[in-house]
Protein backbone atom coordinates (compact mmCIF):
# COMPACT_ATOMS: atom_id res chain seq x y z
CA UNK A 1 0.00 0.00 0.00
CA UNK A 2 2.96 2.34 -0.54
CA UNK A 3 1.56 3.44 -3.88
CA UNK A 4 -1.81 3.44 -5.59
CA UNK A 5 -2.73 4.55 -9.05
CA UNK A 6 -6.01 5.27 -10.72
CA UNK A 7 -6.44 5.30 -14.49
CA UNK A 8 -9.30 7.41 -15.86
CA UNK A 9 -10.29 7.97 -19.47
CA UNK A 10 -10.50 11.71 -20.06
CA UNK A 11 -11.92 12.41 -23.47
CA UNK A 12 -9.34 11.23 -25.98
CA UNK A 13 -6.70 11.18 -23.26
CA UNK A 14 -5.99 9.15 -20.13
CA UNK A 15 -5.53 10.69 -16.72
CA UNK A 16 -3.44 8.71 -14.22
CA UNK A 17 -3.47 9.77 -10.58
CA UNK A 18 -0.74 8.55 -8.23
CA UNK A 19 -0.93 8.39 -4.46
CA UNK A 20 1.90 7.34 -2.20
CA UNK A 21 5.59 6.62 -2.45
CA UNK A 22 7.47 5.73 -5.63
CA UNK A 23 10.54 3.72 -4.69
CA UNK A 24 12.48 0.57 -5.54
CA UNK A 25 9.51 -1.50 -4.41
CA UNK A 26 6.64 0.33 -6.06
CA UNK A 27 8.32 1.69 -9.21
CA UNK A 28 8.37 -1.60 -11.19
CA UNK A 29 4.62 -2.37 -10.93
CA UNK A 30 3.81 1.29 -11.58
CA UNK A 31 6.02 1.27 -14.66
CA UNK A 32 4.32 -1.89 -15.94
CA UNK A 33 0.87 -0.39 -15.46
CA UNK A 34 1.82 2.85 -17.19
CA UNK A 35 3.53 1.02 -20.07
CA UNK A 36 0.30 -0.79 -20.75
CA UNK A 37 -1.43 2.55 -21.24
CA UNK A 38 1.52 4.25 -22.94
CA UNK A 39 2.31 1.52 -25.45
CA UNK A 40 -0.96 2.05 -27.30
CA UNK A 41 -0.42 3.82 -30.62
CA UNK A 42 -0.73 7.61 -30.16
CA UNK A 43 -1.56 7.36 -26.47
CA UNK A 44 -2.16 10.64 -24.69
CA UNK A 45 -1.42 10.50 -20.97
CA UNK A 46 -1.51 13.08 -18.19
CA UNK A 47 0.17 11.87 -15.00
CA UNK A 48 -0.98 13.54 -11.79
CA UNK A 49 1.88 13.65 -9.27
CA UNK A 50 0.03 15.63 -6.59
CA UNK A 51 -0.31 12.57 -4.37
CA UNK A 52 3.33 11.51 -4.61
CA UNK A 53 4.82 11.96 -1.13
CA UNK A 54 8.18 10.39 -1.96
CA UNK A 55 10.12 9.69 -5.14
CA UNK A 56 13.70 8.56 -5.62
CA UNK A 57 15.86 7.74 -8.66
CA UNK A 58 13.99 4.48 -9.27
CA UNK A 59 10.83 6.58 -9.64
CA UNK A 60 12.61 8.86 -12.10
CA UNK A 61 13.77 5.79 -14.02
CA UNK A 62 10.22 4.43 -14.26
CA UNK A 63 8.75 7.73 -15.47
CA UNK A 64 11.54 8.27 -17.99
CA UNK A 65 11.05 4.72 -19.28
CA UNK A 66 7.35 5.28 -19.76
CA UNK A 67 8.00 8.67 -21.36
CA UNK A 68 10.36 7.15 -23.92
CA UNK A 69 8.04 4.26 -24.73
CA UNK A 70 5.06 6.55 -25.18
CA UNK A 71 6.99 8.80 -27.51
CA UNK A 72 8.23 5.82 -29.51
CA UNK A 73 4.58 4.94 -30.19
CA UNK A 74 4.00 8.51 -31.41
CA UNK A 75 2.09 9.16 -28.21
CA UNK A 76 2.35 12.02 -25.76
CA UNK A 77 2.75 12.04 -21.99
CA UNK A 78 2.81 15.04 -19.66
CA UNK A 79 3.28 15.37 -15.92
CA UNK A 80 1.70 17.79 -13.48
CA UNK A 81 1.34 18.59 -9.78
CA UNK A 82 4.86 17.64 -8.63
CA UNK A 83 5.40 18.74 -5.03
CA UNK A 84 8.60 20.69 -4.22
CA UNK A 85 10.27 17.55 -2.85
CA UNK A 86 9.60 15.65 -6.10
CA UNK A 87 10.63 18.61 -8.24
CA UNK A 88 13.89 18.81 -6.28
CA UNK A 89 14.81 15.22 -7.14
CA UNK A 90 14.15 15.74 -10.86
CA UNK A 91 16.12 19.00 -10.76
CA UNK A 92 19.18 17.39 -9.18
CA UNK A 93 19.04 14.62 -11.78
CA UNK A 94 19.11 17.33 -14.46
CA UNK A 95 15.74 16.24 -15.87
CA UNK A 96 13.30 18.89 -14.74
CA UNK A 97 13.67 20.84 -17.98
CA UNK A 98 14.00 17.76 -20.16
CA UNK A 99 10.56 16.39 -19.32
CA UNK A 100 7.15 18.03 -19.88
CA UNK A 101 6.18 19.16 -16.38
CA UNK A 102 3.13 21.42 -15.92
CA UNK A 103 1.80 23.22 -12.88
CA UNK A 104 -1.87 22.30 -13.08
CA UNK A 105 -4.10 19.60 -14.49
CA UNK A 106 -5.76 22.07 -16.82
CA UNK A 107 -2.42 23.18 -18.23
CA UNK A 108 -1.36 19.57 -18.73
CA UNK A 109 -4.63 18.51 -20.38
CA UNK A 110 -4.66 21.60 -22.60
CA UNK A 111 -1.50 20.24 -24.21
CA UNK A 112 -3.13 16.89 -24.95
CA UNK A 113 -6.69 17.88 -25.85
CA UNK A 114 -8.62 20.46 -27.87
CA UNK A 115 -9.81 23.20 -25.53
CA UNK A 116 -13.48 22.21 -24.98
CA UNK A 117 -12.60 18.81 -23.58
CA UNK A 118 -10.45 20.15 -20.78
CA UNK A 119 -13.42 20.74 -18.51
CA UNK A 120 -15.09 17.40 -19.25
CA UNK A 121 -16.78 16.07 -16.10
CA UNK A 122 -15.15 13.07 -14.44
CA UNK A 123 -16.10 9.69 -15.85
CA UNK A 124 -16.51 6.48 -13.81
CA UNK A 125 -13.28 4.83 -12.71
CA UNK A 126 -12.39 1.87 -14.88
CA UNK A 127 -9.07 0.69 -13.48
CA UNK A 128 -7.15 0.90 -10.26
CA UNK A 129 -3.88 -0.57 -9.13
CA UNK A 130 -1.79 -0.87 -6.07
CA UNK A 131 1.76 -1.82 -5.18
CA UNK A 132 2.13 -3.68 -1.95
CA UNK A 133 4.05 -6.45 -0.20
CA UNK A 134 4.48 -9.31 -2.56
Amino acid sequence: MDLKWRIKPWGEATLVELEGEVDLHSAPPLKAALLEVGSAQSARIALDLNGVSFLDSTGIGALVGVYKKTREGKGQIVFFGARPRVKRVFQIAGLWNALPFYESRDAALAVLLPAPLVTLPETPVPAEGEAHAG
Binding site: L24, S57, V64, Y67, K68, V89, G94, G134
Partner: protein, 160 residues
Protein backbone atom coordinates in the same frame (compact mmCIF):
# COMPACT_ATOMS: atom_id res chain seq x y z
CA UNK B 1 36.65 11.51 41.47
CA UNK B 2 37.39 11.92 37.78
CA UNK B 3 35.70 9.73 35.17
CA UNK B 4 38.01 7.15 33.65
CA UNK B 5 39.66 9.32 31.02
CA UNK B 6 40.85 6.42 28.93
CA UNK B 7 37.34 5.23 28.13
CA UNK B 8 35.39 8.00 26.44
CA UNK B 9 31.62 7.80 26.59
CA UNK B 10 30.21 6.41 23.36
CA UNK B 11 28.12 8.98 21.50
CA UNK B 12 24.57 7.89 20.71
CA UNK B 13 24.18 5.39 17.90
CA UNK B 14 20.97 3.98 16.44
CA UNK B 15 21.21 0.89 14.30
CA UNK B 16 18.69 -0.63 11.96
CA UNK B 17 19.14 -3.78 9.98
CA UNK B 18 16.75 -4.93 7.28
CA UNK B 19 16.66 -7.75 4.75
CA UNK B 20 18.10 -6.66 1.38
CA UNK B 21 14.65 -6.52 -0.19
CA UNK B 22 12.86 -3.55 -1.68
CA UNK B 23 9.82 -3.86 0.59
CA UNK B 24 11.78 -2.81 3.71
CA UNK B 25 13.36 0.41 2.36
CA UNK B 26 10.32 2.38 3.48
CA UNK B 27 10.89 1.27 7.09
CA UNK B 28 14.37 2.78 6.93
CA UNK B 29 12.87 6.04 5.66
CA UNK B 30 10.58 6.20 8.68
CA UNK B 31 13.47 5.49 11.01
CA UNK B 32 15.72 8.17 9.55
CA UNK B 33 12.85 10.64 9.64
CA UNK B 34 12.45 9.95 13.36
CA UNK B 35 16.14 10.36 14.15
CA UNK B 36 16.45 13.54 12.07
CA UNK B 37 13.30 15.11 13.50
CA UNK B 38 14.64 14.45 16.99
CA UNK B 39 17.76 16.40 16.07
CA UNK B 40 15.74 19.35 14.81
CA UNK B 41 16.41 19.02 11.07
CA UNK B 42 13.97 21.00 8.91
CA UNK B 43 11.18 19.24 7.01
CA UNK B 44 13.09 19.82 3.76
CA UNK B 45 16.29 18.34 5.21
CA UNK B 46 14.35 15.32 6.47
CA UNK B 47 13.08 14.76 2.92
CA UNK B 48 16.63 15.00 1.60
CA UNK B 49 17.78 12.43 4.14
CA UNK B 50 14.95 10.07 3.17
CA UNK B 51 16.01 10.20 -0.49
CA UNK B 52 19.72 9.75 0.29
CA UNK B 53 19.10 6.80 2.61
CA UNK B 54 16.76 5.19 0.08
CA UNK B 55 19.34 5.53 -2.70
CA UNK B 56 22.08 4.03 -0.54
CA UNK B 57 19.88 1.08 0.44
CA UNK B 58 18.70 0.63 -3.17
CA UNK B 59 22.36 0.27 -4.14
CA UNK B 60 23.04 -2.20 -1.34
CA UNK B 61 20.06 -4.28 -2.50
CA UNK B 62 20.88 -4.06 -6.20
CA UNK B 63 24.68 -4.18 -6.18
CA UNK B 64 25.43 -5.87 -2.83
CA UNK B 65 25.64 -9.63 -2.39
CA UNK B 66 22.84 -11.54 -4.02
CA UNK B 67 21.30 -14.60 -2.45
CA UNK B 68 20.74 -17.80 -4.35
CA UNK B 69 17.38 -19.53 -4.31
CA UNK B 70 16.94 -21.32 -1.00
CA UNK B 71 19.57 -19.23 0.75
CA UNK B 72 19.18 -16.61 3.41
CA UNK B 73 18.46 -13.10 2.20
CA UNK B 74 21.47 -10.88 2.99
CA UNK B 75 21.00 -7.98 5.38
CA UNK B 76 21.65 -4.27 5.01
CA UNK B 77 22.70 -2.29 8.05
CA UNK B 78 21.92 1.38 8.51
CA UNK B 79 23.70 3.13 11.39
CA UNK B 80 22.78 6.62 12.56
CA UNK B 81 25.15 8.73 14.65
CA UNK B 82 23.49 11.96 15.73
CA UNK B 83 25.97 14.69 16.68
CA UNK B 84 25.41 18.27 17.85
CA UNK B 85 26.45 19.55 14.41
CA UNK B 86 24.69 16.99 12.25
CA UNK B 87 24.01 13.36 11.47
CA UNK B 88 26.25 10.57 10.22
CA UNK B 89 24.55 7.74 8.37
CA UNK B 90 26.44 4.60 7.36
CA UNK B 91 24.81 2.07 5.04
CA UNK B 92 26.66 -1.24 4.89
CA UNK B 93 26.12 -4.33 2.79
CA UNK B 94 28.12 -7.54 2.77
CA UNK B 95 29.41 -7.03 -0.77
CA UNK B 96 32.88 -6.43 -2.16
CA UNK B 97 33.86 -3.49 -4.37
CA UNK B 98 35.75 -4.76 -7.40
CA UNK B 99 36.60 -1.28 -8.69
CA UNK B 100 36.92 2.29 -7.40
CA UNK B 101 33.61 4.10 -7.52
CA UNK B 102 33.69 7.76 -8.39
CA UNK B 103 31.65 10.03 -6.16
CA UNK B 104 32.56 13.09 -8.18
CA UNK B 105 30.11 12.54 -10.98
CA UNK B 106 29.39 15.92 -12.55
CA UNK B 107 25.82 16.94 -13.20
CA UNK B 108 25.01 15.71 -16.70
CA UNK B 109 24.04 18.27 -19.37
CA UNK B 110 20.32 18.36 -20.08
CA UNK B 111 19.76 15.58 -22.67
CA UNK B 112 18.80 16.73 -26.14
CA UNK B 113 17.28 13.53 -27.50
CA UNK B 114 14.77 11.22 -25.88
CA UNK B 115 17.21 8.35 -26.24
CA UNK B 116 19.74 10.17 -24.04
CA UNK B 117 17.36 10.41 -21.09
CA UNK B 118 18.81 8.27 -18.28
CA UNK B 119 16.72 5.55 -16.63
CA UNK B 120 19.32 4.69 -14.00
CA UNK B 121 22.74 5.58 -12.69
CA UNK B 122 21.43 8.58 -10.75
CA UNK B 123 21.68 7.21 -7.21
CA UNK B 124 25.17 8.33 -6.23
CA UNK B 125 24.60 11.68 -7.92
CA UNK B 126 21.52 12.29 -5.78
CA UNK B 127 23.30 11.21 -2.62
CA UNK B 128 26.24 13.48 -3.34
CA UNK B 129 23.94 16.42 -4.01
CA UNK B 130 21.70 15.94 -0.99
CA UNK B 131 24.36 15.23 1.63
CA UNK B 132 27.25 17.40 2.84
CA UNK B 133 29.89 14.67 2.89
CA UNK B 134 29.95 11.24 1.26
CA UNK B 135 32.62 8.58 1.68
CA UNK B 136 32.70 5.11 0.24
CA UNK B 137 34.60 2.40 2.06
CA UNK B 138 35.23 -1.14 0.94
CA UNK B 139 37.35 -3.12 -1.45
CA UNK B 140 38.09 -6.73 -2.17
CA UNK B 141 38.46 -7.67 1.49
CA UNK B 142 35.89 -5.56 3.34
CA UNK B 143 32.15 -4.96 3.38
CA UNK B 144 30.95 -2.02 1.31
CA UNK B 145 29.94 1.03 3.37
CA UNK B 146 28.59 4.32 2.22
CA UNK B 147 29.14 6.96 4.89
CA UNK B 148 27.15 10.19 4.62
CA UNK B 149 27.01 13.37 6.70
CA UNK B 150 24.27 15.98 6.77
CA UNK B 151 25.04 19.13 8.74
CA UNK B 152 22.48 20.86 10.91
CA UNK B 153 22.11 24.58 10.25
CA UNK B 154 24.04 26.38 13.00
CA UNK B 155 20.96 27.94 14.51
CA UNK B 156 19.27 24.59 14.90
CA UNK B 157 22.26 22.73 16.27
CA UNK B 158 21.65 24.07 19.78
CA UNK B 159 18.51 21.93 19.92
CA UNK B 160 20.17 18.55 19.99
Amino acid sequence: MPDKPDKPVRPPRIELSIPAQSEWVRVARLTVAGVAARQGFSIQAVEDLKVAVSEAINNAIQHGPSSAEGEDVPMVSIAFEPRPQGLWIVVTDGGRLERELSLDKPVPPTPEHDADLPEGGMGLLLIRSLMDRVELEGGSDADTSLKMWKALPRKESVRS
